[in-house]
Subunit: 326 residues, 2 copies
């Protein structure tokens, strides 16, 4: 007798049962209407058991060594008694068929660690959709007793913003660069960073990593820190050589402690929650505007007319609100 | 016989008549329903005569010398045959009763210059409202033959983003700072900057301004430029001593020429227009949700329940979309 997909054993999930967790995530990711409704009910029921984890976002270009760093740091954490979930946001994974993040094969140690749970990026298309599923998966992991959640992203389009908006602490990994060539930081990402870590500070890379860190550090000085409580530090680390990862984790805990003391952490999560709610409202609004082909065509024509300067944005907004029946 | 407020002589406006322009702006800023409708019609009629000006946004903290710089640069421009409009976005002006930007008394030369038109920030409350009025005022000024529009802001909240989204070129003014104390740049602002100019590079300030510029320059190096066509330069200027303002203007024209050649300028304006349209749709959605006191109270309660973690953002979004009848 197979259990219908829409039924998740909440007790088992709360006890940390991995099969129940996997089943719950499958339900969350399903597009079937009855599954979606069941998923919503499930989420409401797990809500009181969430919000307990340290939520960390990790970004960096392909090749920066995210997987190795997460594999090594994560193994240290589970050895210390933590239970770790590794999730991913990669809106490109379906389209390009490319890198599915949080891949078990790239995290050999965590893949066989009973206290680690790895889940690749959901492949639901839009960034908003992927981020929403990842957020719900994070809540399920928290309910299942995972006390550290790492969410990684490669930084396609606005995915860093989405991940930063899911997490408490946003870690930006950089490459040491070669000679004069310093790796550029995407501007929007600098704004989100709670810490910059130059990875691959091992062997020959040590000196170059230190030099790069010094440059990033002096550059960060010209920016007003987003909070009086926290100025993003710059460190050198090596995932491969397990260098600086304990200090990195202490930085994350230090950030957490300081922002919790001032109430900023709670405020940040509240802001993330309400912002997410409004994003969902927006998404539904857009979904409604693109409901059927004729509707989509009318929206496209209005957008085009505005872009071409044929009608004013105000007149365009009039037409769109009329389409919505508002 | 007084002409009814809702009637603007389009012919006179297009000939650059200042009284007709002032009347049109008053109409745009009015909140009366019949005025708003007349304003919308007027805007549709002037639309073919717009988009011709060089649109420049200027930001900097109070005391950085925005008014002096604009007064001196603007006078140079009118002397060269340009017609200049100076507008402002200051969402705080109504609430604090504080600095009304683009104040005639602070721009002594431009205030009496027949080829300059100064208009303080509209005082309609929300940033969205203020920015919308300023954008429409800009269009009217373009229709009236002003070929340079400067929009200044002090950078309250998100006002820099709003101004950058109105303009082609975003200029960030900085103070030279004293000794080791470099003035911090707000992170979000760095992302918007097409140029950083350290002002007050005169007399004693010269050396400090040059040192500050060097620091900003090396800091900008670590950022990936937003466009392959344009890397934001850092310069020293003095509004007071009229130093570097001609070079500044040449930089603005250079930016314009380069981005026009690649099509990026047209694409940027198209993007701004469609983004503005969607922002208007959003604003109306929110207006509808805050239509009456009972409705506002329900929205507030939903937001609070989500912020307190009593209901999930998804459940909150359900309630809000139900309120909207979507």
């Amino acid at each position: 007798m197979t259990r219908p997909k829409t039924q998740v054993d909440l007790e088992r999930l709360l006890r940390g049962d991995r099969a129940a967790l996997a089943r719950a995530i499958t339900l969350i990711e399903s597009k079937r209407a009855d599954h979606r409704q069941a998923a919503r009910k499930l989420l409401d029921r797990v809500l009181p058991h969430t919000c307990k984890a340290v939520r960390v976002g990790v970004t960096g270009v392909p090749g920066v060594g995210k997987s190795t760093l997460i594999d090594v740091l994560g193994s240290d954490l589970t050895r210390q008694g933590h239970r770790l979930a590794v999730l991913a946001v990669d809106p490109s994974s379906t389209r390009t068929g490319g890198s599915i993040l949080a891949d078990k094969t790239r995290m050999a140690r965590l893949a066989v660690d009973p206290n680690a749970f790895i889940r690749p990026s959901p492949s639901s298309g839009t960034l908003g959709g992927v981020a929403a599923k990842t957020r719900e998966t994070m809540l399920l992991c928290e309910a299942a007793g995972f006390d550290v959640v790492l969410v990684e992203t490669v930084g396609v389009g606005q995915s860093e913003t989405a991940v930063a908006d899911l997490t408490d602490f946003f870690l930006v990994l950089m490459l040491p660069g070669g000679g004069d060539e310093l790796q550029g930081i995407k501007k929007g990402v600098l704004e989100l960073a709670d810490m910059i870590a130059v990875n691959k500070a091992d062997g020959d890379g040590m000196k170059r990593a230190a030099a790069a860190a010094a440059e990033y550090r002096s550059a960060l000085k010209i920016l007003t820190p987003p909070s009086a409580t926290w100025s993003p530090p710059v460190a050198t680390v090596s995932g491969l050589a397990n260098h600086g990862l304990d200090a990195l984790w202490r930085t994350i805990l230090d950030h957490r402690e300081k922002l919790a003391a001032t109430g900023e952490l709670a405020a940040k999560r509240r802001r993330q929650d309400t912002r997410w709610m409004w994003a969902l409202v927006d998404e539904r609004l857009h979904a409604r505007l693109s409901g059927d082909a004729a509707q989509r065509e009318r929206v496209r024509r209005v957008e085009q007319a505005v872009a071409q300067g044929e009608i004013s944005p105000t007149a365009g907004a009039d037409e769109l609100t009329a389409l919505l029946g508002l």
